[in-house]
């Protein structure tokens, strides 16, 4: 006779299954229904190609900016023992939890024509709102903190003794950062940047408010999906499926690298 699982185990599994279903059902439905219909026509349409290119290129630029400037920031935050460092960490990560509408208003308040830097930007002949640059800036604002947090965790987990030993050998800060910290944190940094890229790719609300929804100029994939919903739900579904696949790919590589990093000797 097979041993019966204890009731507590069934209860735990059952409760877990509820959330799994709530999370999986919408995605499974999207896949099941999205695979029907004229996929190729939708995917090869000029608007789709344009929006996809815009999404990928602006996410890539945003990611580059975040990695270049966010890596030293995360490193310094991980090494600093200043008493106010936790407050800086909180401020830097705040955009992650901001509602998208709030993020959009914040960006407009800073860079809009009537924003804090509006007059200065006007004087320089620069107009950021409703431009492609606005998409990049929005992506940096909402997705950057995800990278910073991941990078901060990576640098913080490096054995402190390694830094001390390196210093005792005469190595200066930049050398230690480049030759010790960065290589040790690399897999986790790549994992964090993939998460950041996935978030940037899917950004919608703040982008709509700050960059607008101008086809060919600021209409990213999420915005195209939003537009398509009003006229052709099947098209919106197909586009959503494409974005789902891209996001899933980024996430699975990120998790795989994360597991490899945790399992390192």
């Amino acid at each position: 006779m097979k041993p019966r699982l204890p009731l507590q185990s069934w209860t735990l599994h059952g409760m877990a299954l509820v959330l799994v279903l709530m999370l999986m059902l919408p995605m499974l439905a999207l896949i099941a229904q999205g695979l029907h219909g004229d996929i190729l026509r939708v995917l090869l349409a000029p608007a789709t190609v344009q929006a996809l290119w815009l999404s990928l290129s602006t996410s890539a630029v945003a990611l580059l900016l975040v990695v270049i400037f966010g890596t030293p920031l995360s490193y310094l935050l991980s090494r600093s023992k200043a008493p106010f460092i936790e407050k800086i960490q909180t401020l830097v990560q705040l955009p992650v939890v901001l509602p998208p509408a709030v993020a959009g208003v914040a960006l407009l308040s800073a860079f809009g024509q009537k924003g804090m830097l509006g007059p200065a930007l006007d004087a320089l002949g620069l107009r950021i709102v409703f431009s492609t640059a606005a998409i990049v800036m929005t992506a940096v604002f909402v997705a950057g903190p995800l990278y910073v947090q991941g990078a901060l965790n990576a640098f913080s987990s490096i054995d402190e003794e390694l830094f001390l030993v390196a210093r005792s050998m005469g190595a200066k800060s930049l050398r230690i950062f480049w030759k010790v910290a960065l290589p040790l944190a690399r897999p986790a940094l790549v994992s964090a940047s993939l998460l950041c890229a996935a978030r940037a790719l899917g950004e919608f609300g703040a982008t709509l408010m700050f960059a607008g929804n101008l086809p060919g100029k600021t209409q990213t994939m999420p915005l195209l999906i939003y537009t398509a919903m009003e006229s052709d739900f099947a098209q919106a579904r197909t586009l959503s499926l494409l974005l789902l696949v891209l996001s899933a790919l980024l996430l699975s590589v990120s998790l795989s690298l994360s597991r490899k990093w945790r399992a390192r000797p």
Partner: protein, 240 residues
């Protein structure tokens, strides 16, 4: 420990100084002060004529300027570097020319019998091999002195004696001052001549093992008890 009274009038010219004391007595803090990680607020630190700290004039060299070789308990080998790369990292801090760097690394690999291990990473090395690499790396930059923080604590019991013997052999081959911190009586077996007791942040004068007694009454029964047991075991080791 909130305050470390480093009233360390330590003019020791001995090659090897063994610093003993119970956990929490300030031994590692003493090393950290030598390394410049803990600021001193009185006095000075001079190692082989080079002033590292001098409170009256405000001098306090950064850790990377002190030229002290340091081997922590865990040996501190960089997990992502091979043995050869560990030595290259250390030597790049001292020599600019690639040729001089390569020559120095090659010499160190041969001197420490690491040629066959040059391409291995730290997780592929045994405890004794890791210790050799850590020592070679700490010494390749020709430091003023070598600081060892519980060098055998990371070894398992079975291999500890073998690694201790190897350490004795390695340290005999170098000619610069060494300060070794330990709380294990068996570690003084090979170096009974210059033992200093750290007693709740106060360092007593170094003496031969047979003459070790704290100057004045110990700060606490814990130190007294530690010393009794420590000295009994250490003296048994030396005489066996």
């Amino acid at each position: 420990m909130g305050r470390l009274l480093l009233n360390v009038h330590l003019q020791s010219y001995a090659q090897m100084l063994v610093l003993i004391g119970p956990n929490g007595s300030g031994k590692s803090s003493f090393l950290r002060a030598l390394l410049g990680l803990v600021p001193i607020n009185k006095g000075y630190i001079t190692v082989r004529g080079r002033q590292l700290d001098h409170v009256p004039t405000g001098l306090g060299l950064a850790t990377e300027q002190r030229r002290l070789g340091y081997v922590p308990q865990s040996y501190g080998l960089f997990p992502h570097l091979t043995v050869e790369q560990q030595l290259t990292f250390a030597v790049q801090c001292h020599f600019r020319e690639r040729a001089a760097q390569r020559s120095s690394v090659r010499a160190a690999l041969e001197q420490w019998d690491l040629v066959a291990l040059a391409g291995r990473r730290s997780h592929e090395l045994s405890g004794g091999q890791r210790q050799r690499v850590a020592l070679a790396r700490a010494l390749i930059g020709e430091p003023l002195a070598l600081l060892l923080d519980e060098p055998l604590a990371a070894q398992d019991v079975q291999s500890r004696e073998q690694v201790r013997e190897a350490l004795h052999s390695h340290l005999n081959s170098i000619t610069l001052p060494v300060i070794m911190v330990t709380h294990d009586p068996e570690d003084v077996k090979y170096w009974p001549h210059c033992i200093a007791v750290m007693d709740n942040g106060r360092l007593h004068s170094p003496r031969h093992l047979n003459e070790v007694l704290p100057d004045g009454p110990p700060a606490s029964p814990q130190v007294s008890g530690f010393l009794q047991e420590f000295l009994a075991r250490a003296r048994r080791q030396v005489s066996s």
